[in-house]
């Protein structure tokens, strides 16, 4: 997210000041990301209010097993990244690097499971097009949100994986030190993506049952 500045950069005099600025800046960006997803949740909520029966029927066709596995995977990846971030604060780059590797692996696993789920959904003709399987017309709107929200979340996941691989690259070069700001930025971003998934999971997978 921000420049991999192990050292101090231009306008700041002290490292702690620079770290506060970075955390504050990342949080501002996370606030805007929350607003972005909030718009989609609002659309989902309004349509759930207008078409309760169609959304309930559509909600039953979403694969709960894949969703639950993915949520567990993502929460575990948050655990490993949180440990990595706290390890780097105590200047334990070894432990931190392992944590980042685990998070990267779990994140990739999440996308793979997501891919499997997408393939299964396509086989069941759940793409709201000509061959849409469900009878209720408003079910198409549910799946319109399902595909859009999970796809946008997957894009954010991919960005997160990019940031994590950058951390790994930094660790390889031995620049993963306590004063490195980008660890903080990456962990905050990753945790937000996890929070958003928890809400997406609740809305799309659970509420419809």
């Amino acid at each position: 997210m921000s420049e991999a500045s192990a050292t101090l950069h231009e306008p700041f005099e002290s490292a702690t000041r620079q770290r506060e600025a970075l955390t504050f800046g990342v949080w501002l960006f996370l606030a805007s990301e929350l607003l972005l997803f909030a718009g989609m949740f609002l659309g989902y909520a309004v349509y759930r209010h207008d078409h309760p029966s169609a959304f309930a029927e559509a909600g039953r066709h979403v694969n709960l097993l894949f969703g639950t596995i993915n949520t567990a995977l993502l929460m575990t990846s948050s655990l490993s990244l949180s440990v990595a971030s706290r390890a780097i604060d105590r200047d334990k780059p070894g432990l931190s690097e392992i944590g980042v590797w685990i998070t990267l692996g779990l994140g990739l696993l999440f996308l793979i499971v997501k891919g499997l789920e997408y393939r299964e959904d396509l086989d069941e003709h759940l793409w709201p097009g000509a061959t849409f399987a469900l009878h209720a017309p408003a079910a198409r709107i549910f799946f319109g949100f399902y595909w859009t929200m999970t796809f946008v979340h997957a894009c954010h996941m991919t960005i997160g994986l990019g940031l994590l691989s950058r951390l790994v690259w930094l660790a390889r070069r031995g620049r993963l030190r306590a004063n490195n700001d980008s660890v903080e930025a990456t962990t905050l971003y990753w945790h937000l993506v996890d929070i958003i998934w928890a809400l997406v999971f609740a809305c799309l997978y659970l509420v419809g049952r």
Partner: protein, 578 residues
């Protein structure tokens, strides 16, 4: 060099004064123009907030004239009831181009990205923005989004209007809506990144002693605008994302045939687009506060109220978007709620107008070009604001929404107020940015021409609007022709008035007199550094002890005393910081 510098009055070229004008071809003195290097990469790869401001200034000027050309063509087309130049489809694409370019590529970035980027660190005593690289990234994202959108607008053309209302934009329009939506989606991130940069800078990089209530009102305006940018723009991205999902991937989000609700898009779109008009007007308010205090040599009247008013506008501005949808099929009870909140949001704006007027009381007022723009702003913003009150009341809005009355209202605010303030700010800080003085005579002529050209263009539209002339009509019934002819003639005058600064500003770059560090004898840290400022802004970060507008002792009006002739003169009461 001897200059007759009179406070607030622009230094008039003293006939007997020796060559204040630089010898032709003389190298510009050391400043950020030269320090960072002269290669193309030194400009395109710069992280100096001043250079990024210049990059923004050049790009938004280009978009201003692109959008302005579209406006001129629209007005020429509307000289006759059946349209002079274009087919109806071309006309639709033209007004969409005018709307999209002017809103997202000129008005939203105009003051924050140019004057804000340049002046914010200078005004709070910082060497640069909190995140210099992200500042440059925001410009590249802006240019990237702009490229995509301009290709969409010029190559295929978009005929949905800048509002992209479904189901027309998603199902029935076969123009380049998807590409334009992607372009505007990308440019949205540019203003989010700018907002993040500003808020972090104001919070963390203020000079020692620069407490919150010692910040100049322009900085407060940037703070309020950035709040709105960060919290509103993402919802625009969501609405455009859903349009793209529906058009590109067939996700039937707004398809009414299967139970979708086009009003949902309007809610999401206007949740951004009304705060967006506050993104456009709040920076203008900041500029006007700076200009009026300098020209009147007076502390701003009720500094605390001005700050609270700006924060109130930014916050309450998020609760009023429903007044764009009174006739759209929204529930009449919700319409009443939004109507009430729209009346509430008008109160801070009224307070600010009264405070600016009260700032003139017992001042030493001079009328250089920036002050003329500021006075123009006061009048036009009041008219725009009061017609906004009319539009906030449901029965009148039912009659005049989607007519030329509402077109006139928002042009009074956006062009009359926000663009006038932008030009005022440009003139006021031109010496600081370029180190050159602009020709005062031409500048005043352009300001007056712009004021009359503007009124002559948009006042007839109020009358035409109440008569019932709907907006976005390529052809109109004959009984409106007189008003259209008046408006179009006014538009030609306005176009000329907008071109004038282009010439005399360019002229001043080459032949303008060299500007002293503080030509207006203004307070404010940006005037304590040389014009144009060096790359690192301050040799030594200043320590601030005074309130922002120290033009006279507390509670005592500025005595006229002697007019300042040679050199700096007594200037502001406080001693400039070490």
């Amino acid at each position: 060099m001897s200059l007759t510098t009179t406070p607030g009055e622009f230094p008039t070229a003293d006939p007997d004064a020796k060559g204040a004008r630089p010898a032709d071809g003389a190298p510009m003195q050391q400043s950020f123009w030269t320090d960072g290097g002269q290669t193309v990469w030194s400009w395109l790869g710069t992280v100096d907030h001043k250079r990024i401001a210049i990059l923004y200034a050049i790009s938004i000027t280009a978009f201003f004239f692109l959008g302005g050309a579209a406006a001129a063509l629209i007005r020429i087309h509307l000289f006759t009831p059946h349209g002079l130049l274009f087919s109806r489809d071309t006309y639709n694409k033209l007004f969409t181009l005018h709307g999209v370019i002017m809103v997202w590529f000129f008005l939203v970035p105009s003051i924050p990205s140019t004057l804000g980027n340049f002046l914010l660190p200078l005004m709070i005593g910082a060497r640069d923005m909190a995140f210099p690289k992200i500042n440059l990234l925001s410009w590249y994202v802006f240019v990237g989004g702009a490229l995509l959108t301009v290709i969409a607008l010029l190559a295929g053309g978009v005929d949905t209007g800048w509002t992209f209302y479904p189901p027309f934009s998603t199902i029935y329009s076969n123009s380049a809506v998807t590409l334009a939506a992607v372009g505007v989606f990308v440019v949205g991130f540019s203003s989010i990144l700018t907002g993040i940069n500003f808020i972090a800078t104001i919070h963390l990089l203020r000079a020692p002693g620069m407490k919150w209530f010692r910040l100049p009102l322009f900085v407060w305006a940037m703070y309020a605008t950035s709040m709105v940018m960060i919290l509103a723009t993402p919802v625009l991205s969501t609405s455009l994302l859903l349009i793209i999902a529906e058009r590109l991937f067939g996700m039937p989000i707004f398809d009414a045939r299967i139970g979708g609700d086009p009003l949902l898009f309007q809610h999401l779109f206007w949740f951004y687009s009304h705060p967006a008009v506050y993104i456009m007007i709040l920076p203008a308010m900041g500029v006007i506060s700076e200009i009026v205090t300098v020209a009147a040599r007076r502390k701003v009247f009720g500094y605390a109220f001005m700050v609270y008013a700006m924060i109130a506008i930014a916050v309450v501005g998020f609760m009023v978007w429903g007044h764009h949808m009174f006739v759209s099929g929204m529930s009449p009870y919700a319409a009443l709620v939004f109507s009430f909140l729209s009346f509430v949001v008008a109160v801070p704006s009224a307070i600010k107008v009264f405070n600016w007027t009260a700032t003139l009381y017992r001042g030493q007022i001079t009328f250089a070009a920036p002050m003329m723009y500021a006075l123009g702003f006061l009048g036009l913003f009041t008219i725009g604001g009061l017609t906004g009150l009319m539009l906030a009341s449901v029965p009148i809005d039912v009659h005049v929404t989607d007519t030329y009355f509402v077109v006139a209202h928002f042009h009074y605010i956006m062009v009359g107020a926000s663009v006038s303030a932008f030009f005022g700010g440009l003139h006021y800080w031109w010496p600081k940015i370029t180190g050159r003085l602009y020709p005062e005579g031409w500048a005043r002529f352009a300001a007056i021409l712009m004021f009359f050209g503007f009124n002559f263009t948009f006042f007839p539209q109020f009358i035409m609007g109440y008569l019932g002339m709907p907006r976005r009509y390529a052809e109109y019934p004959a009984e409106f022709q007189l008003y259209h002819v008046m408006s179009s003639t006014g538009a030609m005058v306005l176009a000329v008035a907008y071109l004038l600064p282009l010439f005399y500003f360019a002229y001043s770059l080459r032949f303008g007199e060299v500007a002293p560090a503080n030509p207006w004898n203004a307070t404010g840290l940006e005037w304590t550094v040389p014009s144009p400022p060096p790359k690192h802004n301050f040799d030594q970060i200043p320590h601030v002890e005074n309130d922002p507008y120290e033009y006279h002792a507390q509670g005592h009006a500025p005595e006229h005393g002697k007019s300042i002739h040679r050199g700096q003169g007594d200037g502001p009461v406080r001693t400039p910081p070490t």
